[in-house]
Symmetry: C2
């Protein structure tokens, strides 16, 4: 364990790095709900000692990603179908309010950013549709080494997250933005979008375009309604697709 990963980024704490790694593992699905994680194993895997690993786990527990039982151990938190439904209910509440506020106080910078993100997402959608027939590997070479090349789906997920975050930031209420952001991350744990049919993406893109229009028009009620519809639509899409957990 004294083998310090020489390439640890300077200025960054090991605890932060470990936190991000575990978090991404949970979001990506490589750490599955119910799975038990032991500190020593993680420490060995990440080339650190147990101390930063413990710190990371405490933070993850506070963020609601894992369950820490006092002297028994830590497991990846299991979310029931009911929990997921509840999360989307609250997301609809918070994000629709944020969209309404954003429609009131939007700037041209906000709109430019949203349009740019939306354009990138539509491009990623097209790339995804193109790859749909030719298999799941990346377009160029299909290299799937550890040196993470992003799949179109991953790009889409990242841009979608950025899009929603941008609206939250534009709403002007940091507390509202933070509460909703927390739920977005938690809700995305089980969602890989991988198996969703093309229609669902098309609907989401349509929602996004209308959202931009409503915000640009400065119409809070409209923006609220579109966002609420969008969030519930997403919930329905994912529940149709069948979440990979028992519930």
């Amino acid at each position: 364990m004294s083998a310090r990963n020489g390439q640890a980024k300077p200025g960054l704490r090991a605890a932060d790095r470990v936190y991000e790694e575990i978090r991404r593992g949970i979001l990506k699905g490589s750490l599955k709900p119910g799975e038990k994680i032991t500190e020593e194993l993680l420490a060995e895997r990440f080339g650190a000692s147990r101390t930063p690993v413990r710190s990371a786990i405490v933070r993850l527990a506070a963020d609601g990603f894992v369950d820490m039982t006092p002297r028994s151990g830590t497991v990846i938190k299991h979310r029931s179908q009911r929990d997921i439904a509840d999360i989307y209910e609250v997301r609809a509440l918070l994000e629709s309010a944020a969209a309404g506020l954003a429609a009131r106080s939007r700037t041209t910078a906000d709109l430019d950013a949203l349009k740019s993100l939306q354009a990138a997402m539509e491009e990623a959608c097209r790339a995804r549709d193109a790859n749909e027939c030719s298999g799941s590997a990346g377009a160029a070479g299909g290299e799937r080494s550890d040196k993470e090349t992003e799949t179109p789906i991953e790009t889409l997920s990242r841009l979608n997250k950025a899009f929603h975050h941008r609206i939250l930031d534009a709403c002007g209420n940091a507390v509202l933005a933070d509460s909703a952001a927390r739920l977005m991350d938690i809700g995305l744990i089980t969602n890989t979008y991988t198996t969703l049919p093309r229609n669902d993406f098309a609907r989401a893109m349509s929602d996004h375009r209308m959202l931009i229009t409503a915000i640009e028009a400065g119409d809070p009620r409209w923006a609220e309604a579109v966002m609420r519809s969008h969030v519930f639509g997403t919930r329905n899409t994912l529940s149709k697709a069948g979440l990979p957990q028992s519930g």
Copy 2:
């Protein structure tokens, strides 16, 4: 998520004890916003080593009570007037939704608990009014040793928190309840209620009674409206009273 409602378990860990102590210190005001806390000092004060103190601080940072800057130190988080206003905005949103849901799915146990809490609060209000003329000490003996005897104001604050928590629990959406609970705790950092005039307490009591009536009647719209009015009214009361921080 992680906002544990009260302490479910005795928690034999030193880290838990330290966490609760610091948390109470912040809520109580003995640790003031902007104040720097050092691990060694806290460790000495609580009779533990730095390790559990560090763990507690990490949790507090994740909960939004302190700001941890990488190699500089930890300070009690400072909340601006704007932050407080934002918090109440989101509380109004979430708690009114919870009240509406609670009106739909209330049980007799919920109603009994609410009525009981409300009765206790009215009693505490009377006790507070009685003490108002005779000084600030407790009614019996006026012992103010370290063995915390609760003042009527503290009783009121605790019962009020329990009242709101009971409605959140009754709403049936654990995610909604948790999101709102987190904001309740954070918002209470600066609020000691100590200086509020009798009228404001009377208004709050009136709100609570009407809330119970609306929930008992099973009228979601009414319950929502009352709760929204109650939260905004509280915000206004506290902003009138003048929060003790610069803003």
